[in-house]
Symmetry: C2
Subunit: 398 residues, 2 copies
């Protein structure tokens, strides 16, 4: 359900080579919303990312997000920068919004010029059709999809002091997925809308902490994009303000649920993925160690191909853990694959290969790597590495 | 050509599941040789690596290397450690070598126990057949191969003060290739033999510098193995000592040529590889920056799949460079793919896709990423990411 005071929609603007599919989406608030955002840590930042960073230095009050797919508008020189700016300015003009109050985002092929000739007509259509229906929701998400095969959206409605507050989020992301989002400086795109009033600074804090345990714990291929962008908008139209205490806890919990649901959906829909893999590292000395080891396992192509082949090759899990740069005592390690223990206190144990195969043929697989050395833990989400990953990326541009 | 005073050989010892193929190799010197070695930086080190590290703390005089394939003897607990020790000790006994003067190395599946029941018989056979013939050379390399499809060996004969000195090296490595070799602490295996006399400390210095520009500049999949090992032996049987000056330069040049030739052969024979890719980063501010960017490009699955598809998708090169963690000015970048410029001073330029495709269908591809910001450069070697990589690794154990 789209939160109060927001409208969303998606159309085909012919902006890229998506050949008749929706490639332009609008997320707009009736009234200026408090905003928070995170962008890619890649040194090479796409034009829309640079524009957003500039704009957010001047204001936290944002009214709309215009986002396109099929063309990343990255590495496109000065003209690309002008194009991104033009996208924002045309939306401002069309909807009578304050100058500087529109953010933009792009995803798709790097280096191609964006074709804005259809933008005026597309904005006319969006003026007419953008709304809050289930179809609007779907269209808005379709407009930002590239190699995605499923629509990723999530929402929660919570009660604060008897009043309903809605939070709605969507995301795209299937390849070039290894977000490493820094505050104000993330090709997954995610937009989170809420009708709560949350001041920009607090919204940023909630977003940053939420991303750290969701989008920043997902990898499809270890390639951090030039365009990763997460934007949260809070327009206050529910009439309820979130500041501290129990209300903040309830809001944060719902917000975190949404980002985690979207992050897991991204991993599950990774390019060529046949299964979702959760890697949990338990009982590490500290959180950093746990996350480093979890990500090292989740990023290993050898581990990922073994998962594709439903092969309980736990040796690759040990090897990937060992290259994480974290010192640990091999003699204390326990490894579980799909609930089945394969390695105990530093030595291999007998297990049923048949049972292991059965659990690895499921659509969701859990790996547990227990260091038995502390109390910190971390979960990381990824997918298997399949023939289709190679197929999809062997000739993406054509 | 095998250097003077060395014998090599390979047999099928039934040590693993290589099903009748050669899986045990011996490299032995008539007289104790000066040694230098480098091992994996993975925290999880295989039993043979741990044994070698222990032994090299006590002596630099090494007489033989016993190496097996098919079983990595990694993550095998105390028994694995005893097995590795047994391999060394059986060779010492059989060939009347000094206690502690034999090193061992293993490569293959992690976590499987090594089967040494056939070792005594295999050593009897090796006693008879090990030698210096072309067949011996071939057998010795075959005995350490796993998913390798080509035999990797290289040799040089140089003249020092009128005397011939030989250097011979071999290597195996096709998957789990991302060596990060640290002095005395590197599943590629490489053994380098020379009949020059080079004191252990100097040999270590030559080896360390040589590995830095060869094996440590190669990646197949970014997975650093638990077993990587490079050992150099110098037995002095040519009667010529290498110490300094011009002679050292000539020796070092030949040594470097061999490690680079072997390293490139590993990348070219990477699991599922259809082509060798050289990534050269030019005109960086310093060597570290150059190497970080080169390796980030070479390790990118999206870049590697594009190369498999012969797709001149230079945007992925920019994106991979940008995630290296090195700051650079996008506006100064030039990119060449197979000699064809695709990106000039921060903006895309028109190029013939047809011509690009033609050059990308070749067996060896050169990528140049020019930062135009300094004088340092670095080359990194990798292969494309193909369907066969997924096939080979989807069910490696069976």
């Amino acid at each position: 359900m789209i939160p109060k005071g927001f409208k969303v929609g998606g159309v085909c603007a012919g902006i890229s080579n998506k050949k008749g599919k929706k490639d332009l989406s609008l997320f707009i608030s009736q009234t200026p919303a408090q905003s928070a955002a995170m962008f890619t840590s890649n040194i090479v930042k796409a034009a829309p990312v640079l524009i957003d960073i500039e704009r957010l230095k001047k204001t936290n009050e944002i009214s709309a997000i215009i986002a396109n797919s099929g063309c990343a508008n990255a590495c496109t020189g000065k003209l690309g920068f002008q194009n991104a700016l033009e996208m924002c300015e045309k939306v401002e003009k069309k909807f009578n919004l304050k100058k500087g109050s529109v953010l933009c985002a792009s995803t798709g092929v790097i280096g191609q010029r964006i074709n804005l000739s259809g933008l005026p007509k597309a904005l006319n259509v969006l003026t007419d059709i953008a709304g809050t229906s289930a179809e609007n929701e779907k269209d808005a998400v379709l407009g930002i999809m590239t190699t995605d095969t499923i629509i990723k959206k999530a929402s929660r409605t919570i009660k604060i002091d008897g009043k309903n507050i809605s939070i709605w989020g969507c995301a795209k992301g299937s390849g070039m997925i290894y977000p490493n989002l820094k505050t104000l400086h993330a090709t997954m795109l995610s937009f989170i809308l809420t009708d709560a009033f949350v001041e920009a600074a607090l919204l940023q804090k909630i977003l940053s902490q939420s991303v750290e345990q969701s989008f920043n714990c997902v990898s499809v291929d270890g390639d951090t994009s030039t365009n990763d962008t997460v934007i949260a908008l809070a327009n206050g139209q529910s009439g309820k303000k979130i500041t501290s205490g129990k209300n903040l806890d309830i809001f944060t919990k719902a917000f975190d649920d949404i980002t985690l649901e979207l992050a897991k959906a991204m991993a599950k829909d990774g390019e060529g993925a046949t299964k979702l893999i959760e890697v949990e590292v338990k009982n590490a000395r500290n959180k950093n160690d746990a996350k480093s080891i979890a990500s090292s396992i989740a990023l290993s192509p050898l581990f990922k191909t073994a998962m594709f082949g439903a092969d309980a090759n736990w040796g690759r899990i040990m090897s990937a853990a060992g290259k994480a740069g974290v010192d640990f005592n091999q003699q204390k390690i326990d490894i579980y694959i799909g609930g089945l223990q394969t390695f105990k206190k530093g030595a291999p144990i007998k297990f049923s290969e048949k049972e292991a195969k059965k659990s690895l043929l499921k659509k969701e697989i859990k790996i547990v790597f227990n260091l038995n050395s502390g109390k910190a833990s971390s979960k990381y989400y990824t997918c298997d590495l399949s023939y289709d990953y190679v197929k999809i990326n062997g000739d993406y541009r054509s």
